[in-house]
Symmetry: C2
């Protein structure tokens, strides 16, 4: 693989970026353009006529994909290549095999051993869920468990939380999920005070088994259980790496394993994500979710950019970020159910691609990952859309929507349903951002040329949720391959951890005063904490 700026297609695109497609000119948006710049995959349509691209630019983006070997790299990832590494330097040196968690539907998985391990954990989950359903596993008073609280942070929280929330409409009767993440003691306090502990299971999730926040919250929970006269070993589950400090079945009702080749931010389809999901929705829904993801894993290996939604999303993102120079991207789902999905993608994208060195450890001379942010529409229309339409910062937008609601509870007003209003608003925003509008009142002018695309499916279900998740995972991976960075490590979180430990050791040993800790000590004093 080559450095980004060493690619021929990059130079071609720099040239094309001097005259990006003008969406505001007369007849820029024709019916033919709407039809041509549309593609479909695994139940999703992507409408991208409102991006600042034309046939030449798309051709150059295809050349970029080919020259950088993006699809080959994703295939290598899925077959178990050691992609989580920096050549010549100490690094995690691992495979990247989250796709194996869902490569369980064919006779010939791309990474057989990893898929076999995933199958083994899924079988354990299935029997556990069966035992909960048939009354074999009940609380000490013989009652069924009604709530599962997932305790994890980062990748052990954001994806699983976003997906459980998204699919809440499909919950089994009497089952629900809660989440605790923050080391802030108010987080656990607020969740715990509203629970009946006696019918609650706690699912403690930490790959390393050493995550400060998670272990702290686990302790707080075990204390609460004991105080309520309950046996923690009967209420607490573990999802962790085999052999981690948390891998101690005597302390947990059940233990599920995750492998070190599954990064936290890519772990939503591993046990990290599917234990709580299975508790709430049942095992069949978990399998649908995995199936949706798996279908996209395979479809994402299609080399034609215009038939491959994650690849196209990746390249349109690179066009907007590296060539048109826009520093952020907003992900705006027109679905309240997806209200936390942008937060998951923010983590998955920014932790993967917020890097400054290449796979060979050289400093990059080009932009890598953008700032990713977003909130659901139509809410955002009454909030930050003002800046998106008329501000001095141009924000590329990725809309996500569904033709039907999950619950089917709706009301007709002025001849249209709420769901129709929701989707019509999304499409209207897409057109408004692209086309803009002139006005003799300068405060009512809209510049237009604000690039955006619309990703649309029939309905948010376990299966389409799985597909949507995998599309974004691969969009992010494709971009990382193209920028020639390691999207699978997270060295940037270390320094803050080390400094926090130093400050905490000053708090426990305030008389110690030496070396670089002096500044931290003064910081604590000046902040009024010591």
């Amino acid at each position: 693989m080559k450095d980004f700026t060493a690619l021929r297609a990059v130079h071609q695109l720099q040239d094309l970026a001097k005259r990006p497609y003008d969406l505001t000119s007369d007849n820029a948006l024709t019916v033919q353009r709407l039809e041509t710049f549309k593609t479909s995959m695994c139940g999703f349509d992507l409408l991208y006529a409102t991006q600042r691209v034309d046939e030449n630019i798309l051709k150059a983006l295809q050349e970029l994909a080919d020259e950088a070997g993006l699809v080959e790299a994703l295939a290598a990832m899925q077959t178990g290549a050691v992609l989580n590494r920096i050549e010549g330097y100490a690094s995690e040196d691992r495979q990247v095999l989250h796709t194996a968690c869902r490569d369980i539907f064919t006779e010939s998985p791309m990474a057989g051993d990893a898929s076999a391990k995933a199958q083994r954990e899924l079988a354990k989950l299935q029997s556990f869920l069966d035992e909960l359903a048939d009354g074999t596993v009940v609380n000490q008073a013989g009652q069924p468990f009604s709530t599962m609280v997932q305790v994890g942070i980062g990748g052990s929280d954001l994806g699983p939380r976003a997906i459980c929330l998204a699919l809440k409409a499909y919950s089994l009767p009497g089952r629900s999920a809660q989440f605790i993440a923050n080391v802030d003691p108010d987080d656990a306090a607020e969740v715990l005070q509203e629970l009946d502990l006696s019918t609650t299971l706690f699912n403690i999730v930490s790959k390393s088994g050493t995550t400060l926040e998670t272990l702290t919250n686990e302790q707080l929970i075990r204390d609460s259980l004991i105080k309520a006269g309950l046996d923690p070993a009967h209420h607490v589950l573990a999802v962790t790496g085999e052999g981690s400090p948390m891998d101690d079945p005597s302390r947990y009702l059940r233990s599920f394993y995750m492998e070190d080749y599954i990064g936290g931010r890519y772990s939503a389809t591993s046990m990290v994500g599917v234990v709580t999901l299975g508790f709430v929705l049942g095992f069949a829904a978990v399998m649908e979710f995995l199936k949706g993801a798996h279908e996209v894993d395979r479809a994402a290996l299609q080399p034609a950019v215009r038939s491959n939604i994650p690849l196209l999303l990746a390249l349109l993102g690179i066009w907007n970020h590296n060539f048109l120079g826009y520093p952020t991207v907003a992900i705006l789902p027109y679905s309240q159910a997806l209200s936390r999905f942008p937060a998951h993608l923010q983590q998955c994208d920014m932790e993967s691609n917020g890097k400054s060195v290449t796979r060979q450890g050289r400093e990059v001379a080009w932009k890598t990952g953008p700032v990713v942010w977003g909130e659901p529409g139509t809410n955002g229309q009454h909030a930050f859309y003002q800046l998106i339409h008329q501000g001095t910062e141009v924000v590329p937008v990725e809309f996500i929507g569904f033709r039907q609601s999950r619950y089917g509870v709706d009301v007709m007003i002025e001849g249209t349903s709420s769901q129709q209003k929701l989707v019509a608003n999304m499409l209207a925003q897409s057109l408004a951002l692209a086309m803009g509008k002139d006005d003799e009142n300068p405060a009512r002018r809209f510049q237009g040329n604000r690039p955006n695309s619309v990703l649309l499916a029939d309905r948010l279900t376990p299966r389409s949720m799985g597909s949507l998740l995998a599309m974004y995972e691969h969009k992010i991976a494709f971009q990382g391959f193209c920028w020639h960075i390691n999207s699978f490590d997270q060295e940037g979180v270390q320094l803050g951890k080390v400094l926090a430990q130093q400050l905490l050791s000053i708090l426990t040993q305030p008389d110690n005063q030496y070396g670089e800790e002096v500044l931290g000590k003064q910081m604590l004093r000046i902040a009024g904490l010591y």
Copy 2:
């Protein structure tokens, strides 16, 4: 007021920006610097030694504040100047008087009529809350009401929701709040299915009384109440403008008014915010909240930049955005209770300052509002902080923290409490971002010089919440004054609304096919909606 680029101080700052303070050099961060670059106001400390400023830059920022007349403009706002206008063009032409809602603690309010109106509505709220407490107002079965569901969107949702969530720890026994905002029918369906309608009040909030989303959800709620055999007029409240289409007391249990000089995004201290807050926390807490805001309103009129936190936050933001060129700002509260506060500030800031024309309707030749985003720490440390530390986009950060938790439920592990771990992590991140760290492994290098500040108070209470809110409202207003834009209109939301109406009219009259609607019709067809 002058254009931003016509200010002498701006040219001086452009010059100073060629050599911003280098936080990574040896001894850049001394104890003396930590102590000097700290200020206090209304119970909050601001630590800003980790910004890229020195004495000269701060002096130039003071000159900018003076030359642009920022404090004078805020005083004019608070006394009722017509600041919501564009000279020479049609505009809202209104006063901006959200501060009057809390200017109720002295004999001489700055805008007497507006404060008298606020007092009148507060008195109505107080008697209503008394009647709920003493059993005068009960449901048709004689039971007390336990839940209030606020139905509103944008400013009628984000601020009130963020603040209710922040102060949940102080709820009256048996009282809670829920929120419905989105036109997505799944939003209302999910909230309604978990409620006992018979003991629920619905607080419908729309200043204009014409907000599509809110009226649609009100209809859905009235249908549900009737279906449950309940009388909507006994369960539904209104907060709206006097004389709006919703101002019809026969249809509502109670009606509270808001004035047209209070913008939606600045309405959290008006009836828009305090009715639900008062239901959950009681009237005394509402008064504390207003008091905290009022104290900051007055303190923000202090002209010395280094003694005025909102002014200093505004100018540091301008330094980072206009002079150092950073397009976004992250607001990262180390408090799970403030988990939705960044979303409120995102609206308040981006809708206020995402503008491209001056107060005289000329196109700006400088950057206005940044993209504002954020999530609570420590959660974010396990997510997007990777990019903040090591990405190619530099993100200025505003940390917010508290020395004590709200609930006081905590656990000691390795000699420190969770609350200590929380605050130590925040301070450690502040230092790490500023100082960076070299390493022989390039993937473990931290560039540093990532500007940030820490805003710190003892505890999140109704009073400190009010102060925090007002600090950010005035930060935003000061920046808008400095950029010479109208921070109080929102013309940018109109185009999308108009186009959405066009698309909806196509859906109800599909045979109509003329003029510019053709494109919308084809968009609907291609999206599979027609």
